[in-house]
Symmetry: C2
Subunit: 267 residues, 2 copies
């Protein structure tokens, strides 16, 4: 177990052994299609749980100062035993992401603020995940978020849905600088969630996750924020107007911008 000064860079490990990654080569059957024979599970329960909780923390689902649900409830939700959950929590505690307090009104408190990026962070993040995986993640995100926007723009929105969308939009626009990323995430995910499809929402969350570390590694600059604000507004407008094509185009442009920004910092 390592314990570095910057939690964001600390890799979280624990009592379990690493899991061998499967080979990916031949295609089976006439179809030549899809590797359905990919690993059934991404890792052991402990690893997957750590990953999940880390995601919830980094995405700001549980922001700094808040606490995770009580162990018993969380274990039930995650579909794992309390023992396994506790191992994961301990790993995150030792890595500096959580502060665990006992007694009534105790709990696992999140102590994580997105670190201000330092030179070399991005390069390091990319190296960690691999160039191919980066392209994969960006492509995946483009597809699912465009799709989600299209779906939402196609649907008849209830007043409630419009409100939520508008609220999220102003949430990003009014965000304090160090809360910007979190509100940006909330806006993007709201589009998927409002579609009413849990599967789609999960896919978009997953896609976003795969680029959070990268985005956290580049500074949040004023001109970029302003540019993004215009694009966000365009996305929301197209959705509210019920124009699928425009919604999609707007999302595509926005994400293309982000991707370009990333590539720019990498070059």
């Amino acid at each position: 177990m390592r314990m570095e000064s910057t939690p964001a860079d600390a890799s979280v490990s624990g009592p379990r052994a690493p899991v061998a990654s499967a080979s990916r080569d031949a295609t089976v059957g006439i179809t030549g299609v899809v590797s359905l024979l990919r690993p059934v599970r991404a890792g052991n329960a402990f690893e997957e749980t750590v990953e999940r909780l880390l995601q919830a923390i980094k995405l700001g689902v549980v922001p700094h100062g808040e606490k995770l649900p009580p162990e018993r409830e969380l274990a039930t939700r995650l579909g794992i035993s309390r023992v396994t959950l506790r191992e994961a929590i301990r790993a995150l505690q030792e890595a500096g992401y959580l502060d665990v307090r006992r007694g009534r009104y105790g709990g696992a408190f999140v102590v994580y603020r997105p670190p201000s990026p330092r030179k070399g962070d991005l390069r390091r993040a990319v190296t960690r995940m691999g160039e191919d995986d980066l392209e994969d993640a960006l492509t995946f995100r483009m597809a699912v978020e465009c799709g989600a926007a299209r779906v939402l723009a196609t649907a008849d929105l209830t007043p409630r849905q419009r409100e939520t969308l508008a609220a999220r939009l102003s949430g990003v626009n009014d965000a304090a600088p160090d809360d910007y990323r979190r509100m940006d995430i909330a806006f993007h995910l709201a589009i998927a969630e409002l579609s009413g499809s849990p599967l789609l929402a999960a896919a978009c969350a997953d896609a976003r996750l795969r680029v959070t570390d990268l985005l956290n590694a580049i500074p949040v600059l004023r001109p970029n924020i302003e540019h993004a604000a215009v694009q966000h507004a365009a996305i929301a407008a197209a959705i509210v107007d019920g124009d699928p094509e425009a919604a999609e185009r707007a999302v595509a442009e926005h994400l293309e911008g982000t991707a370009a920004l990333l590539r720019g910092f990498l070059a």
Copy 2:
């Protein structure tokens, strides 16, 4: 373990106990966003493996008469132990999906042909999965397949890619009736796979899977095939032309048609 006359209807069960589903209610944190605290795993290793193999069989990834990879290799690929894999294989064997032969040139041979739908199959399939999940699946599929088409249409295609796409297209068009669904799947998944993003390909495969049972429960009718052929051609053309909006629109129309067909049969 039950063993019914029609394998497609047989529910596959095994030695493990069912897993309790988690409650889904409160949203955590300010964001109010996404249930990242959903179950870490869908079931135990045995169940998930059965599911996977069944998917590979029903999607035609391993067609009738072919055999699965050898146990040792398959176990490695799926990231599980041979013991667990064997349990899953045995369950599928007892349910009538596999014929296992030992000795050299032996293996687990697929003995499954999509059954011709009988009245009530669709209703039953929907009841099994739930109305909400049906909507979820259709929405999800719409989003990811539209997104995939857009991505592919945006990319510069190599001659090789064009060939593959064309081949898959004629594959559907020339398909024998009882091979139609399989070739249709191959065409749809090819779009995702050609995007070069494994994540996207997996998402599209997953989406398709969630509706296979339903589609298998409705008859393949001549006029529908012809209609679909026109739409498939439009999709391929838009992609080759590099027109993302048209590609997406074409996919959306096509899937909307399928969804309408399903709803029609349900009414």
